[in-house]
């Protein structure tokens, strides 16, 4: 029976590690994770430039984001996304003010795989 259980456990573990990872993150203007699912790190790498790290590769996923902070009102602006350069687990997010200048803004990020 041990063998059967081990085999089944192995199957579940394999399925879990191979499964594509979907997740999300709410990021503060200074690049900290406010809350998330499967995000393991975030950094603010310059004005309006963020990299969000997830627990597994996300470079083949779809990313959507909207400006918004943990609380209070976020000024009008823009956000764009990309897979992080040479970083399969990262999402590169840029935030802008209403005039198109790069500025730090909080945002909500959704990763679908």
């Amino acid at each position: 029976m041990r063998t059967a259980i081990l085999l089944l456990c192995a199957c579940f573990a394999t399925a879990a590690s191979a499964a594509p990872l979907s997740g999300w993150a709410v990021i503060s203007p200074d690049g900290e994770i406010v809350r998330s699912s499967h995000a393991v790190g975030a950094s603010n790498n310059g004005s309006g430039i963020y990299i969000i790290e997830f627990a597994r590769a996300v470079q083949h996923c779809a990313f959507t984001a909207a400006l918004g902070d943990e609380a209070g009102q976020t000024p009008a602006g823009y956000v764009t996304v990309a897979a992080a350069f040479q970083d399969p687990t990262g999402v590169y997010v840029t935030t802008f003010d209403a005039g198109g200048a790069m500025v730090n803004r909080g945002f909500h990020l959704n990763v679908r795989c």
Binding site: M1, A4, I5, L8, C9, F12, S22, W24, S37, Q59, H60, C61, A62, F63, T64, A65, A66, G77, Y78, V79, T80, V81, A82, A83, A84, F85, Q86, D87, Y92, T94, F96, A98, G99, G100, A101, N110, R112, C113
Partner: protein, 137 residues
Amino acid sequence: MRWVTALAFAAALGAPAMAGGLNQTPGRLHNAYGPRGVVHTSLTAVVTTKGVLRRGIGAVSAAPTDDGPGTYAVVFDRNISSCAFVATVGEPDSEGSQPAASTTVVGLNGNPSGVYVTTSTPTGRLRNMPFHLDVGC
């Protein structure tokens, strides 16, 4: 008997992931992102500046439309006319990034499986740009 015990053990392991799927209509379940008892289907499309479908879930085609720059039609493999569409301008891959830009979304006229996406500059001018599209149903 041994196999029954093993299967019961396996079922217990999988129970948390499957609990939200009980007594529900078929669909792709993202139990971690919604309340239990809700089936959430998430379809996606990542589309290049030229309107080429780069990758996606359930997406079957993408193309620029005849309406002019910054207008795209993305078609999925099912009726999504009752779903929610969210799009963000963004590079399909990991090289480069896009300047400030916005998107709008609406169901594709005459096609219940399609989404019509526009991409615009901050001044409101329609311009071709790549985007990521999420369809939640």
